[in-house]
């Protein structure tokens, strides 16, 4: 019996076998186009179509939204998404394109949406037929998210929205946006409300989406402008003035610490056979890289740094395992709240180390024919700052951990 198969309920064991059978017979075809490193850099319709077809197939097979109720398009199971994720990661399927929908919008709508919104929105979100984006950050509201100024003004049973959102990944393909907006200029946190907004239907009619260019040279995120956009009051989640509470549900899930497990596919990129973890990739890289005329794998400092990374990477996985054993964690939120900070800094440090391993060749970027692995590591390093900045910077994460887990005085 494999490690993960032990101590599972009969339902879970049956479900795992089902996932494995289906995945065995339905390995997705190779992508006809080069795919970016994550869903957040999807730039072309061809990339999107390939990935959406995969999400739809996995959804139809019951591997996406397993733990959501059937009436909302889910599988109606209990604690099974984790198993589907493990099986997809095991064989290294492509990633899902609707990451913001699955990871943030779905749990938020599930916990705070009206019955009608849940029935209407969740099925197409889970299947990937409708892509979602997130309207939180603004030019003047980054780490201090509660200072958002985008304003929703009540008019009858409608809201009129004006404002400016930034760093909006996937907005150029999105049908829907989760929106944090100000409905009261007096209170800071208490003046916020939370909406779902059909932005695609309003393009050119109150909504403008403009691409922003990332540090990597890629697009994939945008700014979104609202000018007198009118939406129904039925698009509101929870009560007026409760927007901050709703946003906390979104952020908790975005940071991997929420109660609902996010459907996650393997994350395989085109032409890559297996996802084996950064440490093994770096060991392989060091065997084939030359620095200052010597093999990187023979450099004692490089060896030490790869081992440090391997220890952190294994430790991260072991922490997730331990977090599921209540008797081995004094505070149930202590490890889950570390997830986002740990994984983003681990990825960043792995990429930085890869550049050091590559030595002179690390100067070669994506378009260079001699770039090792198509310039993957310089791209990954540049891209990694998206992870350590988005969804609450590493600095904000450390504040949250210090305040919630260690009880230290609040910074804000």
């Amino acid at each position: 019996m494999s490690e993960s198969a032990r101590r599972e309920s009969p339902e879970q064991a049956e479900f795992r076998a089902r996932c494995r059978r289906w995945l065995g017979a339905n390995v997705p075809p190779p992508a006809p186009v080069r795919l970016p490193q994550t869903a957040l850099e999807i730039m072309t319709r061809a990339q999107l179509d390939y990935l959406c077809a995969w999400q739809k197939a996995a959804y139809d097979a019951g591997l996406v939204g397993c733990d959501y109720p059937v009436e909302y398009g889910g599988g109606g199971r209990s604690d099974c998404q984790r198993i589907a994720n493990e099986e997809m990661q095991r064989i290294g399927t492509p990633y899902f394109p609707n990451v913001i929908g699955l990871g943030m919008a779905a749990p938020t709508i599930f916990h705070h949406g009206s019955e009608q919104l849940k029935r209407e929105l969740l099925p197409k979100l889970l299947s990937g037929e409708e892509i979602w984006c997130q309207g939180f950050s603004e030019p003047g509201a980054g780490s201090d998210l509660a200072s958002v100024q985008t304003f929703a003004e009540p008019r009858g049973d409608k809201w009129i929205i004006n404002g400016h959102k930034v760093w909006t990944s996937l907005a150029h393909f999105a049908s829907w946006m989760i929106l944090l907006a100000r409905t009261d200029k007096a209170g800071k946190h208490a003046g916020l409300s939370y909406f779902v907004v059909p932005i695609e239907a309003a393009l050119g009619k109150g909504v403008t989406v403009r691409p922003l260019i990332k540090i990597t040279g890629e697009t994939g995120f945008n700014e979104v402008l609202f000018e007198d956009l009118e939406i129904d009051d039925g698009m509101r989640l929870d009560e007026v003035g409760k927007g901050w509470t709703v946003a906390m549900t979104t952020l908790l899930h975005e940071r991997g610490a929420g109660p609902l497990v996010t459907p996650q596919s393997g994350g395989r990129r085109a032409g890559e056979s297996e996802d084996t973890g950064n440490a093994s990739r770096l060991i392989e890289l060091a065997r084939h890289s030359w620095r200052n005329g010597a093999r990187a794998a023979d450099d004692p400092v490089i060896r030490d740094r790869i081992m440090q990374l391997a220890i952190r990477e294994d430790g991260f996985a072991l922490n997730q395992k331990r977090a599921r054993v209540p008797a081995l964690a004094e505070d149930m939120m202590r490890i889950p709240l570390q997830w986002k900070l740990a994984i983003s800094e681990l990825s960043q440090d792995a990429a930085a180390l890869a550049l050091d391993i590559e030595g002179a060749a690390s100067s070669l970027y994506m378009a260079d024919p001699n770039a090792p692995q198509g310039g993957r590591w310089p791209l990954a390093y540049l891209n990694s700052f998206g992870m350590t900045i988005a969804a609450g910077t590493s600095e904000v994460q450390r504040n949250i951990l210090g305040e919630r887990v260690l009880g230290l005085a609040k910074t804000r």
Binding site: I283, A286, D298, G315, N319, V325, L401, L408, A409, T411
Partner: protein, 380 residues
């Protein structure tokens, strides 16, 4: 065999952990510990050996000191995760006792597989303290070298860095016979044996080098040529238990320093408000959690998948050693002026961690050995 999802912590192990935590909290709170081991701050004092023999006797009666002794030798034969939990709780209390060396000797003796070794194990199960004498003057921890010679049933030479030597009754001595290493049992007070106490930084232990001048061994635990394999088999447990001690001690450092940051006011605020204080404490918490998961994983591998145990134990010891260095330095620094004094309890843990960090090899050493396992040797 496979690795259980809960690291193999059964109810018995969890009950033991909780009982141990209460026992150490009740019997050795930090103020009592300080009175016991730090009564004399004079750096020129004679090496001390302060501990509470009565508590050791109680622990022996509870079966804790013989926890890892196999059932065949009259012990409880508890899984390594349970032993790890006990070591972690002892570390949390910076408890002065021969527990760690006795557990270490237990794993080495259990790997010998000889009648003589099982007889020594039976004595440990009865409450006798034991320790290992397997390091030479150059600090070789892995049994590859020794400054002690065995011939005609007698030991000559010196063993170095022997842990809690003045608390132990049984000594497991590594010695060379015609260049081949064996393990031999010597009892405290044997004729020709001189235990020379080292003046050490750590106040919660004692350490010595032992001069052997024609000491007759009581028994041959592992014959010449057999010691290397024995030590290799026991090494994962030796490393994992030190790492567990470090995790427990570091959690005390974290909680104590966080409490200070919650109450100490400067600039009209508790100092934990400031990110220069808050963020290092969070970093320490994350390092502790990673080290702790590695420790449980290594113990779990020892119990369930021995082929993976050495790799896991190198990771645990390397991770915990670096974590301990960081935690100790922050615990003193973030206490400010008071943290620099003898009266503040943090120095007890700081010094215990310094000792733990180097004991059986530090972070860089274990990463180098891990790299040999995962990457092959340099030039391969």
């Amino acid at each position: 065999m496979s690795m259980p999802r809960d690291f193999g912590f059964g109810d018995e192990a969890l009950m033991l952990r909780d009982a141990a935590r209460r026992f150490f909290q009740t019997n050795m709170p930090a103020d009592r510990l300080h009175r016991l081991v730090a009564a004399n701050p004079d750096p020129a004092r004679e090496p001390e050996c302060a501990w509470d023999r009565g508590l050791w006797q109680q622990m022996a009666e509870l079966g804790w000191t013989g926890l890892a002794v196999p059932e065949r030798a009259g012990g409880l034969g508890m899984p390594c995760v349970a032993v790890t939990a006990l070591a972690e709780e002892a570390g949390r209390a910076a408890f002065p006792s021969p527990l760690l060396p006795t557990l270490h000797a237990t794993y080495v003796l259990a790997a010998c597989g000889t009648q003589a070794a099982d007889a020594a194990l039976a004595e440990i199960a009865e409450g006798r303290a034991a320790t290992l004498a397997l390091t030479n003057a150059r600090g070789v921890w892995d049994g590859a070298a020794s400054d002690v010679i065995f011939s005609d049933g007698k030991l000559n030479g010196t063993a170095w860095y022997v842990q809690d030597a003045r608390k132990a009754e049984l000594f497991v001595v590594l010695a060379l016979e015609n260049g081949r290493a064996g393990l031999y049992l010597v009892r405290a007070g044997a004729a020709g044996m001189d235990v020379v106490a080292d003046a050490i930084v750590d106040l919660t232990r004692d350490q010595a080098h032992i001069r052997f001048d024609g000491v007759a061994v009581e028994s041959v635990l592992a014959p010449a040529g057999a010691a290397a394999a024995v030590i290799r088999a026991a090494e994962p447990a030796l490393l994992t238990l030190i790492a567990a001690d470090m995790c427990g001690a570091a959690e005390w450092q974290l909680q104590t320093t966080a409490e200070y940051a919650r109450v100490r006011q400067q600039f009209d605020r508790p100092i934990g408000f400031f990110q220069a204080v808050k963020h290092p404490l969070v970093e320490l918490m994350m390092q502790i959690d990673t080290a702790r998961s590695h420790v449980y994983n290594a113990a779990c591998a020892i119990d369930n998948e021995p082929a993976r145990a050495l790799r896991a134990a190198h990771m645990a010891k390397a991770c915990a050693s670096d974590m301990a260095a960081f935690g100790s330095s922050r615990s003193v620094q973030l206490h400010g002026g008071i943290g620099f004094t003898w009266e503040c309890f943090v120095h007890l843990y700081f010094k215990r961690q310094l000792h733990n960090q180097m004991l059986m090899g530090d972070g860089p050493y274990h990463r180098a050995r891990l790299a040999d396992l995962l990457m092959g040797p340099v030039g391969a």
